[in-house]
C-alpha cells in the first residue's frame, strides 16, 4: 500500500481539489483507494457527499477503534473515504495526547494495508504535529504551489524542515511540488512556469490551470475529473496523475 499526501503550508492553493481528483483517478486506474480527509473543514468529504461524522476519531487515532468502521464508500467503486471529524480542528492536541504522536497516523494506516492499494491524505495546512505525523506516514508528498514568489518561498521552509527530520533519523517522503491555479494572463505566473526552482525539490512538469470549473465541484459535489473529463483542468489532473507514476 502506498500513501500519497496532499499538503501545503497555506490554504486556498488547490490542495483539496488535488486530493479529491487524484483519489478518483487512482480508483479509476484500478487501485483500491482511500481518501482520508484530515482537514477539519471537511471539504473533501463535502465533495464526495459524505457527512463529516462527529466523535470516534480520537479513539480511532489512539488505536482503540477500527478505522474501517468509520470508512464510507463513495459513489464510485474502489474508492472509499475516511471522513473529516470536528476533533481534527485540534488534531495537533489529539495526536500529542496519544502515545508516540508521530507514529499514530502510520500505525493506523498499517491496519488498512490489506484493504487498499493507495491512501490519499488531504492534510491540514501548517507545520505542526499533524504535519509531522503525515510526513512520517507518507511515501510521496504532492504540494500545490501558486506560482508567485511568496508561495514558492514556502518550499524552502519545508525543505529545511525535512533536512532537520533526516538528521534526526526520521523518514522523509519524496516531495513533488507542482504549480496550481495557474493564470496565464499573469506575467509572474508565466515567469515561474518558465523557470521553476530546481531546489529544494524537483517540480512536476504538469501544472493545474486556474479554472472556474474547479469551483463547479462545489455545485456538483463530485470530482471534476468525473463530470467534465474533457476540460483543461481535468486533463491537467489526469496528466498529473500520470506523471506521478503511482
Amino acid at each position: 500500500m502506498k500513501v500519497l499526501g496532499c499538503y501545503s503550508m497555506k490554504g486556498g492553493v488547490g490542495k483539496t481539489s488535488t486530493a479529491v481528483n487524484l483519489a478518483w483517478l487512482a480508483a479509476d486506474a484500478g487501485h483500491r483507494t482511500l481518501l482520508w480527509d484530515l482537514d477539519s473543514q471537511g471539504a473533501a468529504s463535502f465533495y464526495y457527499r459524505i457527512t463529516a461524522k462527529g466523535g470516534g476519531a480520537r479513539k480511532m487515532l489512539a488505536g482503540e477503534r477500527d478505522p474501517m468502521k468509520r470508512v464510507r464508500g463513495t459513489d464510485w467503486e474502489r474508492l472509499d473515504l475516511l471522513p473529516a471529524d470536528p476533533s481534527y480542528r485540534k488534531l495537533d492536541i489529539v495526536l500529542r495526547d496519544g502515545k508516540k504522536p508521530l507514529q499514530q497516523l502510520a500505525r493506523l494506516l498499517q491496519q488498512l494495508d490489506e484493504h487498499y492499494d493507495l491512501v490519499v491524505l488531504d492534510c491540514p495546512p501548517g507545520l505542526g504535529l499533524a504535519t509531522e505525523a503525515m510526513l512520517t506516514a507518507a511515501d510521496v508528498l504532492v504540494m500545490p504551489i501558486v506560482p508567485n514568489r511568496l508561495t514558492v518561498r514556502t518550499l524552502d521552509t519545508v525543505g529545511d524542515h525535512l533536512v532537520k527530520r533526516r538528521k534526526k533519523g526520521r523518514s522523509v517522503p519524496v516531495v513533488r511540488p507542482f504549480f496550481s491555479m495557474v493564470d496565464r494572463r499573469k506575467l509572474i505566473h508565466l515567469q515561474q512556469l518558465a523557470s521553476p526552482p530546481s531546489r529544494p525539490f524537483r517540480f512536476l512538469r504538469t501544472s493545474i490551470p486556474f479554472s472556474s470549473l474547479v469551483e463547479r465541484m462545489e455545485l456538483q459535489r463530485a470530482p471534476l475529473v468525473s463530470f467534465d473529463a474533457a476540460s483543461p483542468a481535468a486533463r491537467a489532473y489526469h496528466a498529473l496523475w500520470q506523471e506521478l507514476g503511482i
Partner: protein, 535 residues
C-alpha cells in the same frame, strides 16, 4: 467485503416491476447497463487455488482489470491492464512477464514458473440502479443480472445461469442496505445464496480444483504381492506421465516437461529396484518399457537442460558486468532457438507411432491382472519384504558413496552418488505407505537437500557444457560477435566458480546423509512385524 443479498429472478418476474416497487419507497438514480466478462485463471497444478485464491481478468465496458481474489471473492489486489480502445492488452502468461515488480514477486512466490491457464469464463449483462440518500449520495445498489452465462475454455459450450437480483451494500451505509433488503423480502422474492463468481467458475471448469499433484498417492499394503504392488505404482506413474503429455507437447511451461520426466524416471527406477518382480526376457513388457523410457529420455533431456538454463540465464548473467550482460543477448537468442528445435523434436516423438504404441502396450500390461503362477522370482513375495530388501541394498550403496565423497571426488563419482541418491529417494517415495512415517519424513528431507545440492552442481556442470557447445556452434555459423565471445568466456568462469562452490557445499551435506543411512537407522524405517502379522 461489503454485503450482498441475492434473490432469484423468475422468468415470470419483470425486473422493472421490482425496480418500480423499490422506487416507491427509496430514492433511485437512473439505471445504467453494465456488461462484464470474467476469465478465471490458475496453473495446471492449481497453485493459486492451493494458496486460497484465483486470478481473474475482468473485461467491462471501458476497461480491463487483473484481479487477485480470495476463493470467497474478497479482493487481494487489482491492476488495470488497459482501457477499451487500447490494443487488447493480453494477460501475461507468466509471473515474470508482469511489469509491476510487487505483482511479479507476489505471483512468482505462488505459481513459480508455471503458466496461467484459463479455466472458466463468466459473462454478465446487468442493470445497475443506485439507491440515493437525501444528499443524492449512493448508499446502496440494486443490480439486476438478467443474463449470466458461463463456459469452460477453450471449447466448452456457453450455458445459461439463472437470472438474479442483488442488493449490494455500500461500505458504511448499513441502514439503507437493510431497508432495501426489507423491501425485496417484502416482494416475496426467493432468496438465494450469494455465491461469488469464483464458486461458479470452479464448478463450471469441470476439473477438480487441487486435483492434480505430482506426488505419489499409492497406498500399499505390506502383504500385497510385489508384482501387484509394482503394477499399481507404475500405473499411477503412467497416469502422471499422460496427464503432463499435452502440456509437454505444447511447451506450455517448463513444469509439464519436468513432471513428465520425473514420472518417466520413477518408472525406470521402479523397474530397476523391483527387478525380479516382472519377467525380464528380451521382449517382455517390463524390458521393453525400460528401453522405451530410456529412449524418451534422450529427447526430453536436452529440452529440460535448455529450459533450466534459459529460466536461470538472467540470474546467472546478473553476476557479470553490465556490458557483458548486454553482449550475451545473441547467445540467449541462440539457446532459445536450440530449445525450440529440441522441443519440436520431442513433440514429434510424442505424436509418433512408436510412443503411442509403447504407451498403449504398457498400460494394457499394467491393467491386466497378475498371473496366478508368476514366473518372475520375486513376483509372489510380499511387497514389504521386497521393499525392505531393496531399501537396505540401495541405502548401503548410497551410504558407501557418501562416505567416500570429499572435495576432490571426481565428477563421475559425484554423478554416481547423485543417481544412487535419486534411486533411493524414489524407492522411499514409492513405498512410503509401508514405512514408519516420522522417520521417513526426516530421511526424505535429508535426501532432498542432498539431491538439490547435487542437482545444482550438475546443472552448473551441464550449463558449462551448453555454453561451450553454443560458443562452438555460433562460431561455426558466424553468429558470435567478438564481445559476445568475451562475455561467454566471462560467463564460463562465473559458472565454474559457482560449480566449485556447489561442490564444496555438497561435500558438507553428504556427511550428514551418510549418518542418516547408518544400517541401524535404515532398519528402523521398516515397521516391526507384529505377532499378529507374524502368525
Amino acid at each position: 467485503m461489503p454485503q450482498i443479498r441475492a434473490y432469484a429472478l423468475a422468468d415470470s418476474t419483470d425486473s422493472s416491476t421490482v425496480i418500480g416497487a423499490v422506487g416507491q419507497t427509496l430514492r433511485l438514480a437512473p439505471a445504467f447497463p453494465r456488461a462484464e466478462q470474467s476469465t478465471f485463471y490458475d496453473t495446471f497444478d492449481w497453485a493459486l487455488y492451493r494458496d486460497g485464491g484465483t486470478l481473474v481478468v475482468l473485461d467491462s465496458d471501458d476497461h480491463r482489470d487483473l484481479r487477485w481474489l480470495d476463493l470467497g471473492g474478497g479482493e487481494r489486489a487489482t491492476r488495470r491492464l488497459g482501457r477499451s480502445g487500447d490494443p487488447s492488452p493480453a494477460l501475461p502468461s507468466f509471473a515474470r512477464e508482469l511489469d509491476d515488480p510487487d505483482w511479479r514477486r507476489a505471483l512468482a512466490r505462488v505459481i513459480d514458473v508455471r503458466r496461467l491457464l484459463p479455466f472458466a469464463r463468466v459473462r454478465n449483462r446487468s442493470t445497475v440502479v443506485p439507491v440515493l440518500d437525501k444528499h443524492e449520495k449512493t448508499v446502496a445498489r440494486l443490480v439486476v443480472t438478467d443474463e449470466r452465462t458461463s463456459m469452460a475454455p477453450p471449447e466448452g459450450a456457453w450455458r445459461r445461469e439463472p437470472a438474479r437480483i442483488e442488493a449490494r451494500a455500500v461500505r458504511g451505509y448499513e441502514r439503507p442496505f437493510a431497508r432495501l433488503v426489507g423491501i425485496l423480502d417484502g416482494l416475496g422474492l426467493e432468496p438465494i445464496e450469494h455465491d461469488h463468481e469464483v464458486g461458479l467458475a470452479l464448478a463450471v471448469s469441470g476439473r477438480r480444483p487441487g486435483g492434480y499433484s505430482n506426488r505419489i498417492a499409492a497406498t500399499l499394503h505390506p502383504e500385497m504381492r510385489a508384482d501387484e504392488a509394482a503394477k499399481q505404482l507404475l500405473a499411477g506413474l503412467v497416469d502422471t506421465m499422460r496427464t503432463n503429455e499435452d502440456g509437454t507437447r505444447r511447451d506450455l511451461d517448463a513444469e509439464f516437461l519436468h513432471d513428465f520426466r520425473v514420472a518417466c524416471r520413477r518408472q525406470r527406477s521402479t523397474l530397476s529396484e523391483l527387478r525380479g518382480v516382472f519377467p525380464l526376457s528380451a521382449g517382455a513388457p517390463a524390458t521393453r518399457a525400460r528401453k522405451e523410457l530410456s529412449w524418451l529420455g534422450r529427447y526430453s533431456g536436452p529440452v529440460r537442460d535448455l529450459d533450466v538454463f534459459l529460466l536461470g540465464f538472467d540470474g546467472l548473467a546478473a553476476g557479470l558486468p553490465e556490458d557483458a550482460r548486454a553482449a550475451l543477448a545473441p547467445v540467449r537468442i541462440y539457446l532459445a532457438r536450440r530449445q525450440a528445435e529440441s522441443q519440436a523434436a520431442l513433440a514429434d516423438v510424442l505424436d509418433g507411432s512408436r510412443y503411442l504404441a509403447f504407451v498403449e502396450h504398457w498400460q494394457s500390461f499394467l491393467e491386466a491382472p497378475v498371473p496366478k503362477r508368476p514366473s518372475a522370482p520375486d513376483a509372489g513375495r510380499s511387497i514389504a519384504d521386497v521393499a525392505a530388501e531393496r531399501l537396505g541394498r540401495i541405502g548401503r550403496k548410497v551410504r558407501k558413496r557418501a562416505l567416500r565423497t570429499n572435495p576432490s571426488t571426481p565428477a563421475a563419482d559425484l554423478h554416481r552418488l547423485r543417481i544412487a541418491a535419486k534411486r533411493l529417494r524414489y524407492l522411499i517415495e514409492l513405498t512410503r505407505s509401508l514405512l514408519v512415517e516420522k522417520r521417513t519424513v526426516r530421511l526424505l528431507k535429508r535426501l532432498k537437500a542432498v539431491q538439490n545440492d547435487l542437482g545444482d552442481w550438475h546443472d552448473l556442470e551441464q550449463q558449462q557444457i551448453l555454453v561451450k557447445q553454443a560458443a562452438s556452434a555460433m562460431h561455426g555459423e558466424r553468429l558470435l560477435p567478438a564481445d559476445s565471445a568475451l562475455a561467454l568466456g566471462q560467463l564460463l568462469a562465473h559458472l565454474a566458480s559457482h560449480e566449485a562452490a556447489a561442490r564444496l557445499h555438497v561435500t558438507d551435506r553428504v556427511a550428514a546423509l551418510a549418518e542418516a543411512l547408518a544400517p541401524e537407522r535404515l532398519a528402523r524405517l521398516i515397521p516391526p512385524v507384529t505377532e499378529e502379522a507374524a502368525s
